[in-house]
Structures are given as C-alpha cells and as structure tokens.
Amino acid sequence: MKNSIGKMLKICLSLLLCLALSGCWNSRELDSLAIVMGYAIDKSDEEGLVDMTAQVAVLSDGGSSDNSSSSSNTASSEAYWNITRTGSSIFTILRDYTHESSRKLYSPHNQVIIFGNDLAKNGIRDYLDFFLRDHETRLNVWILVAKDKASDILDVKPKLEKIPAIGLSDLIEDQKATSETVQIRIRDFLERLISDTTASIAPLVEVIGEGKDQIVEMSGTAVFKQDKLVGELNKTETRGLLWVLSKVNSGIITVEAPGGTADLEIVSTETQVNVEILDDGSITAHVKITESGNIGSQTGSGDLSKTDNVKILEQNMNDAITAEVFSAVEKAKELDADIFGFGDMFYKKYPQQWKSMKENWDELFNEIKVEVEVDAKLRGSGRIVKPAYPAEEE
C-alpha cells in the first residue's frame, strides 16, 4: 500500500512537471475578449508613426434567445467597433488599445490585414514582424492593399455581412470564380518577401461610391519590389499572372465564335514553367498551360457542337489565354518586378550560374524571352448542344 502511494505520487509529480513544458496559456472567459476581425494600417500624419485601426466584433445583441421584435428594433447599433490609435509600432499600438477598450484584443480570429497605399509605398516590412512573432496571430490572414487609406475600407458596411472584415474575407474567397484577383495570405506574402528576386503581390481593394452606397471592390493586384509598393496589375494582367502561377481556378473567357461570341468557362488548368539558359547566354521561360473548359453561354446562332467550330473555339481560347499571359509579362517588365518567380526557378535549376545572374537579375528579367504554349480543350457544352435559337432557314 505504501509502495503504491509512492508510485502514485511519482506519477502525479511527473505529470505536474509537464506544466513547465507548455507555452503561453491562460484562462480567459469568452465574454471578456474583444475579438478582432481585421486590422488596417496606415501612415500617420506624424512622421515615423502609423495609425492602426482594429475592427472588433460587437456581439452584445445576442444575450438571450428570444429577442424577436422588441430588441431588434432598439438594437440598431453596429455589429462592429473600429478603434484607431497612433503609435510607433504594431505591438505598442495593440497594447495602447487597452486605454480605450474594456476588453483585451484577441487576434486569433483576425481575418484581414489591410495596408494603406502611402504606407505600402514606404515599405511594410517593419509592420509585418509582429504578426509573425506573436503567438496569437495566424499565418493564414489575408493581406490586402488599399488604393487609398486602409481604414476607409473597414468603415464600409457590407451589404450582406454584418462585419466589414468578414465581408472582405468572404469577398476574397469569392475571387476564385473569376481568377482576376490574387488571394494572398500573410505566409504567401512572406514567402515572396524572403526570396531575393521574386516580387511580392497582394490584392488591391478600393472604396467606390458615395455615402450609403459605398461598397468595397477588388481591383487588381498590388506589386511590391522588396517590401515597397511599386505598381499594380489590372484584372486581365492579374489573370495572366495567375496562369503562370498555375493558380487559375475558374473564370470566364469570352471569345469570338462562329456567328457571334461564346463565353467559355475555365474548368481545370495546369501550368508547367520551364526556364532555360540557351547556348548564346540568353534566357527563356517556357510556359505550358493545359486547360479544359465548357461552353457557358453563346450569342448568335452558330452550331458550336460541330467539330470544326469546336476547333475554332479552342484556337480562340488559346489565343486569349496567350494574350493574357503576355499582358502580364509586359507589365511585369515595365515594373521591373519578377512577379512570376522566374528568378527562383533559375536558382533551382542553375545554382552555379545563378551566383552571377543574381547581381543583374533586374536587367536579365527585362530580357527574358517568355514562350507560351496553350493546350485548351473544350469538354462540354452545358445542358444544350445547339444554340437556343437556331439560325433561321434561308
């Protein structure tokens, strides 16, 4: 008996020792947290400081289950609360919020981090550090760049969601349908930032409209050189970029069709990029895109079920995709930013030569010859085969 008590003590002791192994961990009641849904970071009017806006979800309308009519009329208050403080670093501002907020800000459920245009132009490296270092923040937060001030974005109440940050996060998820906007999480952003040559990218958002009709729109891609904003891609150029990155999920390509136009839906894509240093020292990147799609809709009365017409559509699709890719390449060369990550591909394939190429990669990137080979296939025509209104007999 004595022995077994001793054994139990030893077991309990060794289990207690595990306490020392655990990390930061503390008891906080759910109703003592201010759940942050989004951060917007802007350059402050004062030199060297930043304004940070935190969007906190306000959940007080929930209390009891039977708040059918009486409370919903009176509780017209917002579902969120934006707090803005100014300070020299993210961490100091975050602690500074406690001067205004009765609850401690809680970041794990943060959806978006938006950088203002001015701040992005000056470089955002210093402000990313906290989001990586702190244990409460997550690496799957969406990164966005505002065309103007970031805090404005968080002020626009979405029409369908209650909280702007959630609306924004859902909006980004939604971009898969068109593949005209990049989807960048903080870890993707950093992956590119760590690379010597690859330029970081982030989706651009802007507020359009006035007053009550204000909405937030995704409008292309912000291109960073190192951590500084240098330019932007429009929607077509963005999809061109996504073709090369093999990140086109879905989308519509409108092409000329016999007797009108046809909207072709992208169903599945795959891209292989092969970089090469040729014997004469010039460098090329060979982009091979395999795509298959469906006919989504058509105008005119051409019979697209005919094999000849399908061939024509496929060829038109090939041309359209090629054009999109080249528009992106041109823009990238114009901005001097290797958004495609060709540099890293050379580094992996030619580690020896890379040492010398690295120095003058900017010039080399401008000279890179991009070849695009598209293999587009049409798989289906939807529920109908022939056009809705057949050509009139002549």
């Binding site: 008891s27 009641e29 759910l30 109703d31 947290l33 759940i35 009891s64 459920h109």
Partner: protein, 532 residues
C-alpha cells in the same frame, strides 16, 4: 429424582454451548452440539434457541401405531404446506409401514424413516443442533423423534416469489426477454436451460453469519481456467461477515481494485448474457435474494458490448459498438472540452461558431466552468430524483427539469444556451453505456475541474492518469484493457468490432486456455447446399 436433575443439567449444558456458538458465530470448525436422545429435552433446547417467534411452528404428534412421539418444526411462510401435509405428516401418522404384522415397531434407526416413510424429495439426517436450526431457518422441516439422537431435515421449501419477468436493465429489441429473479434456484435453472451440459458446475457456499445466504459459483468445467475458479472460490469463502443481502456485497468484498472507480466484476440480470460469459470461460456468482448475477473476470471493453450485438448481423453491431465508445467519450468529455475551448482555447473554435457562442455567453454572470458545474449538478439531481420517485411524479420532474431549469435559465441569462446543449448531450450519451455510467460521472467531474483550471492541458493530464490507472488494473488475473493492451490479436475479433459469428472460432484466449475452440468451420458457404 437424581435422573431428573441429571437430565436437566444435560439440557442446560447443551443450551449453553449452543448459545456460546451463536454468540461467536463465524469462528469456524467449532465442535457442534449433538442432539440428545430425549425428545422433550431437544424440544426445550429448540424452543429456547428459536425463541417465541410466532412464525415458527412446532407440531407435536404421535407416529402411527408405534406411539413414538415426534415433533415437526418448520417456519411458516417459508414452507410448502402441501408437502408437509401430504409427504411428511400423512405417511408418518397413517402409514402402517412403521409396524410389522405383529404391531411392533420396525424402526430401529432414524434413517429407516427416511427410507421407508417420507415421500419428500430431499431428506438428510443430522445430529447437530446448528445444522438442524439452519435447515429450519432456510425453509426445510425438521423432524425429531423421541428416542433418536439425530433428526431429519426434510426439504419442504416453498414461498412466494416474483415470477420470471423482463428485467428493467439491459432491455433488448432482439433476444430473450426473461430475467433472473430473487430466487437462486430459479436463476440456476434459467442458466441450465441455456447450457444443457453436465460440465456446467454449480457449487453453493453459505456466506453471512446472520443471513446464511446461499452463494452459487457457476462455471463450465473444461472451459474456465481452474486457477480462476479456485481464486473465486477462495475469495468468496474467505468472506466472514454477518450479512450478504445482495450480490453487490460479494462484489465489494472480492474485487481486485476496491479503490478504483472502475468495476472489475461484471453483472447482468439476463440469463443469456451470463450463459455467453460462462461459455467464454468466465465464472458466474449467483447470490440468493437478488436478480443480479456477477461474472468475473470483467474486461473494460465488455462494458461496451451487449447481448444484442451477437443476435443481430455483424455490420450494424460493429457500428453500434463504435457508437457506444463514442458516446462514452462524449459523456465524459463534452463538458470539460467545452469549458476548455471557451475559457482557454478560443482560437480552436471556428469563427462563425465562436460568434454564436460568444453571443450566447454575453452577459452571463459566471465563468464557463461554474456554469458547467451548476448545470451538471442540476442534471445529476434531476436524474437521481427521477430514479427514486414513483413513475407518475417522475414525469413532472422531467418537465420541471427540462423546461424550467433549461429554458428559463437561458432566457434569464444565467447560463448560455450552448452550455444547456452540451449538458443535454452529455446526459443522453451517458445512458448509452449504463455499465460505466458511475465511473463516467466521476471522471466527468474530475476532468471538468482540471479543464476549468488548466484547459486542454488539464484534460490531457486527467485522461493520462485515467489511462495509466486503467492499464494497471487487473480483474482476476486478466489485464483490464485486454485484448487491446496487452494486445491479443486473436481476441480483437470481438472487441471494438464484432466479427461474424462463424469467424469467431476460438474463445477469448486469455480466459479459456483449456478449451480454446468454440466451433468448427461454420462458414456459411460450406453450410448451405450447393445450388445450380
């Protein structure tokens, strides 16, 4: 005169001895007090020992023409009056076999009564007072005849008892509905009706100084390990207490881990369950006076098995076993995990769910762990009240519990609605595994406290302690967690899942080492006739 005094002294010494024996009952192997030759003296002693209880009948009569005085002593209510009248009194008083043609007594010996006179089933002779008294107390009739220094114990038991009914516990949709009764004989008969093999051995011990309870140890010879049988017998025969009122008494005296919250001896109210356990090599302990029959050893996994598993086809039976294990986990873990999530690991909750939960908890006055404790306590009180109350009032309790406590506690803002849901699912799932409901409730509270203090880390620690404890338990030499730990691959066919019956060719290897083969090849394809 001298003779009279002498006989008086004799009577008194015998009485004193009996009293002394009764005073320190239990000290075994005492010399028993022998019966005297004189009926009057014996009767005096009997009356002195049995006292004035009016349910004890002493019927004095004369045996037929022999003029021998006789006394029949029995307890009214424990005896079958028809047997006494027809098979004991009648032959003794009217039969002419007692005398030969010359009208002389041909009885030389008390055994002659047994052999030629009494038409009752079980008759044995004894010359010890305590044995005769015990027989009388158990419902047998004691026959004393003048001039013989031994008496007869005639089986005449018969009393009112409950019929074989459907048991309250372990009800089934498919399978036999009969259950044990309070009568040990009925119970052994129910088992024997399932197993008609002479190898089914029943051995009866009398335990309890005052209650003299019959405890029957059943096993199948050649299947159960002799070591196990011996161990069970040893442990039971070492019990020296004054009362065994229910099989729970036996269980608590002989179990391996009396300090554990987990039971290491199984029980059932159903003959088919006991029969199947006996056939797997277990030992059953049937206690007179209770419908609950014990089995040993008990493995942890057996708590998740029901008799119905074997009666239905194997696929759904296996799914049900997994479901039971899941339900047990939910019943133990749901409140602690909820508390840990809400007060420590909010980052683990999906954002939309977090919103819902935070909204529900907004404005509730207590921390989640207090909320959970109060709700669980309320539930335990309601459950206990529901069991003890008469059935019609039980419904009122559940209405008060469900509506008043649940609904109004939420609308009054005292507890969050998710907490009510968590407690409700906990309550419901705790009934899925009734055999572990008691240990589950204790674990639930333990883990809740740990979760409230240390979050998920506390739960992990608590579960580790429980796991270490479970792994250290043994039930009559069988590791409690087998066949999972130590792993016995051959026994896994009937553990978490239930293999088809025709695949279960062997008995559990750890339990039935002597006779491991349960059946020959009964694969259905071999059994059915070939068709074209």
């Amino acid at each position: 005169m001298l003779k009279f005094i002498f006989s008086k002294i004799k009577t008194n010494t015998a009485l004193k001895k009996i009293k002394a024996i009764q005073a320190n009952q239990g000290q075994k192997d005492q010399p028993s007090v022998k019966l005297l030759r004189s009926l009057d003296k014996n009767l005096t002693i009997f009356k002195e020992v049995l006292g004035e209880s009016n349910d004890i009948i002493t019927r004095e009569f004369i045996c037929g023409q022999t003029q021998m005085k006789a006394v029949l002593i029995y307890v009214d209510g424990l005896t079958n009056v028809a047997v006494i009248n027809e098979n004991i009194m009648k032959p003794l008083m009217y039969d002419s076999k007692l005398t030969d043609s010359k009208n002389e007594a041909k009885i030389k010996n008390i055994n002659d009564f047994k052999e030629i006179m009494l038409s009752a089933g079980d008759v044995k002779d004894s010359d010890a007072f305590d044995e005769l008294i015990n027989g009388c107390m158990s419902g047998d009739s004691v026959l004393l005849i003048d001039g013989f220094s031994s008496g007869l114990i005639i089986s005449s038991r018969g009393w009112d008892m409950r019929a074989v009914e459907t048991p309250q516990t372990g009800s089934v949709v498919r399978g036999p509905r009969e259950g044990f009764t309070e009568n040990m004989r009925t119970n052994t008969a129910l088992i024997r009706r399932k197993i008609k093999d002479p190898a089914l051995k029943l051995e009866v011990l009398k335990i309890g100084r005052k209650t003299q309870t019959n405890v029957c140890i059943a096993h199948i010879e050649g299947v159960a390990n002799p070591g196990l049988i011996k161990e069970v017998k040893d442990r039971i025969s070492k019990i020296d207490t004054d009362a065994i009122l229910e099989s729970g008494y036996i269980e608590q005296y002989i179990e391996d881990a009396p300090f554990s919250i987990f039971a290491t001896i199984g029980y059932s109210e159903k003959p088919d369950v006991i029969a199947s356990r006996l056939l797997s090599g277990a030992v059953a302990i049937i206690v007179d006076g209770t419908p609950i029959v014990l089995t040993a050893p008990l493995l942890f996994i057996e708590n998740f098995q029901t008799s119905e598993d074997y009666y239905m086809r194997p696929y759904f039976a296996s799914v049900l076993r997994l479901l039971r294990i899941l339900s047990f986990a939910i019943s133990v873990l749901a409140p602690p995990v909820y508390v840990a999530l809400v007060s420590f690991h909010q980052e683990l909750i999906p954002t939309p769910l977090l919103f819902t939960m935070a909204k529900a908890m907004e404005g509730t006055p207590f921390p989640a762990v207090i909320e959970a404790a109060v709700m669980l306590l309320t539930y335990e009180i309601l459950r206990e009240a529901g069991i003890r109350l008469p059935k019609p009032i039980g419904q009122a309790i559940s209405i008060v519990g469900a509506l008043v406590m649940g609904q109004s506690a939420v609308s009054a803002g005292l507890v969050g609605a998710p907490m009510v849901i968590v407690v409700a699912i906990t309550a419901v799932s705790s009934f899925v595994v009734p055999d572990q409901a008691d240990s589950g409730a204790i674990m639930r509270w333990l883990l809740l406290i740990l979760a409230g203090a240390m979050g998920g880390f506390g739960i992990t620690m608590g579960l580790l302690i429980v796991l270490i404890h479970l792994a250290s338990l043994e039930s009559f030499g069988m590791p409690y967690l087998s066949p999972l730990a130590p792993m016995r691959p051959a026994d896994l066919k009937d553990s978490v899942i239930r293999a088809p019956l025709w695949l279960m060719k062997t008995r559990p290897t750890g339990m039935a080492r002597q006779n491991p083969t349960r059946q020959k090849d009964n694969t259905p394809s071999k059994i059915k006739n070939p068709t074209k």
